[in-house]
């Protein structure tokens, strides 16, 4: 099972089924074919000079950022720094006014729709845990599972034994095995966070975007989350937005500080904490 978590697996469902049918045609953009991810330069995500403005307010201002393959990156920054908008840009929810965003060497994220981006291997966890509250934990996982996600397939889809195993293993991984048949809406806040992380894992993404993943968790849960993320790094690339400095410290990766829509500082946690500009932004407020 773990073998399939390696990042070079291409995500190109069209190749398996042929292109064309009614339900497969893409609407919003000219067709963007999702090829295998090209990681020749060991960089999984490029953001270059991204600018996004809402009614004149620049949520992102010439933001440039690169994430290496297998890296675990933490993004911190005061409120309104543009963290969530950055995630919106990466996942296709918001189109930048200018700038480029590439996934690997070849996939232009600004020209892809959300489902295409998700299919290409970017998973996202929202700031507020967003799970399917009317479905059971198991069904949540089943839906998130990497599979052919077109209508035609969903009409006749059945779970194979392999897929059942995969779900079971992730259930254990995120410690929800005892709640597999509980309705997601009935879980605690922390459990929902885990559930969402688990759904991300079911997607087998190469890049995970995690927006405040430990908000509302107990200290113990936070600690376990950190362990999980660290174990994922290397096989996956992770971008974690977090306010909890203890958690950031526990993750131990490179830290990027965003402020007013662009990068203020980058480096280890200790180095950015010593940066006078960062101190000013945080303390001067």
């Amino acid at each position: 099972m773990t073998a399939t978590l390696t990042p070079e697996r291409p995500a190109a469902p069209e190749d398996d089924h042929g292109s064309g049918g009614l339900w497969e045609s893409e609407a919003t953009t000219s067709r963007v074919r999702v090829e295998g991810l090209d990681l020749t330069h060991k960089v999984i995500l490029y953001l270059e000079e991204i600018t996004v403005s809402f009614d004149g307010f620049k949520a992102l201002n010439n933001l440039s950022l690169t994430i290496d393959a297998g890296e675990l990156r933490c993004i911190i920054g005061p409120n309104g720094a543009g963290k969530t908008t950055m995630m919106d840009v990466i996942t296709g929810k918001t189109r930048p006014d200018s700038g480029t965003a590439f996934f690997g060497q070849t996939l232009d994220l600004t020209r892809m729709t959300e489902p295409q981006i998700a299919d290409a291997g970017i998973g996202r966890k929202f700031q507020k845990p967003t799970v399917f509250e009317n479905h059971t934990v198991f069904e949540n996982f089943e839906l998130a599972m990497k599979a052919d996600k077109r209508v035609r397939h969903s009409l006749f889809a059945e779970l194979s034994g392999e897929e059942l195993d995969h779900i079971a293993s992730v259930l254990i991984q995120v410690r929800l095995d005892r709640y597999a048949n509980r309705q997601a809406g009935l879980l605690s806040h922390g459990q929902k966070q885990w559930l969402e992380i688990g759904m991300l894992l079911m997607q087998k993404p190469q890049l995970l975007l995690l927006d405040e993943p430990v908000a509302g968790m107990t200290d113990e849960e936070t600690e376990r989350t950190a362990e999980l993320f660290v174990s994922l790094a290397g096989k996956h690339s992770l971008v974690v937005v977090e306010h909890d400095m203890k958690f950031v410290e526990a993750l131990g990766g490179k830290v990027t500080v965003l402020c007013d829509g662009s990068v203020l500082a980058e480096g280890s946690l200790a180095s950015v904490q010593a940066d006078p500009r960062v101190i000013e932004v945080y303390l001067g407020r």
Binding site: P115, D119, R182
Partner: protein, 388 residues
Amino acid sequence: MRTPLTLRLLQSTPRSGWLALAIFAAVAWIGVPLAHLVVPEGHPLYLSAYTVSLVGKILCYMVVAVAMDLIWGYAGILSLGHGLFFALGGYAFGMYLMRQIGRDGSYGADLPDFMVFLDWKELPWYWLGSDSFLWAIFLTMALPGVVAFIFGYFAFRSRIKGVYFSIITQALTYAAMLLFFRNETGFGGNNGFTDFKRILGFDITSGATRVVLFALSATLLMLCLILGRYLIRSRFGRVLASIRDAESRVMFIGYNPLHYKLFIWTLSAILCGLAGALYVPQVGIINPSEMSPANSIEIAVWVAVGGRGTLIGAVIGAGIVSLAKSFFTVTVPEYWPFFLGGIFIVVTLYLPNGVVGLWRRLWAQRKATDAAPAEDPTPAAAIKGATA
């Protein structure tokens, strides 16, 4: 490796459900024909033509309600324009029925009466093939389907949701109604199509024809229920419910909601079209008022009264509201809007899950010791999701 589809179709409905369907089928296919055609008039078991066509009409409404429930109850899309698809199906089949009149119209001409009257010398191009039964059947599905597909494609692509979507569906059906009101449009204007004589050569007013139409309506309803049941039990159904509850999440795990919505939307429109096609010969008229916004709202009301998100709820809702309307308009002709309006208010206020929800609550109270069934969606959350 895979379970055969037929088996899965069978599994999607439990054995008791199949039993109930079988009894229903027996009543519709054998009981009603016997009671209407064989039992002599005056016998307590005799079913009058009035009852057969009334129930036949309501069966068509029930199909529409199920179609509505599929998109509103399960996908969270409230259409205030479903009357349009129903009417389009009705018109498509009505064209065939008009052609079947032949020269028995009041002008004794080959063309339908209203065309003779407009001085039209030949059929307009869009009436081509309307004398063929098969073409009519094709049109009853294709016309609503294509209209729904085109409209849905653009609307869903633009991510029009919630009230915005509801209102533009209303605009759509309203515009279509005005269009069909025009004599020049070529569908009989305000009078629409009436005075049908034959269907496939059979006298449309004969008892046998009526019974066949009834049985077909019942069959269509059963097929709708089985299909609906299968759909909502499949992964497709779960994706649909997920779209209703958290559309953005669905997108970020790689499903394209456009395709899912479009599929169920078009399917729903086609089912409405079929219901319309069966409705027209049973009530004997199709005219543009079927497309009026009020009629479409009424369809939503059926589903709400019965209980959104349960197929049987839609069926029950359509039955209760239609029967209540038929009943009150006779017993309290001047006051029935009070009763009907009152029902809508009470149901939405006190029965957020409709009659079926009430039934379940009572059932749950009786079996208070049992845990609440886990797969029951909590209504509040479902509704919140549907409208967020």
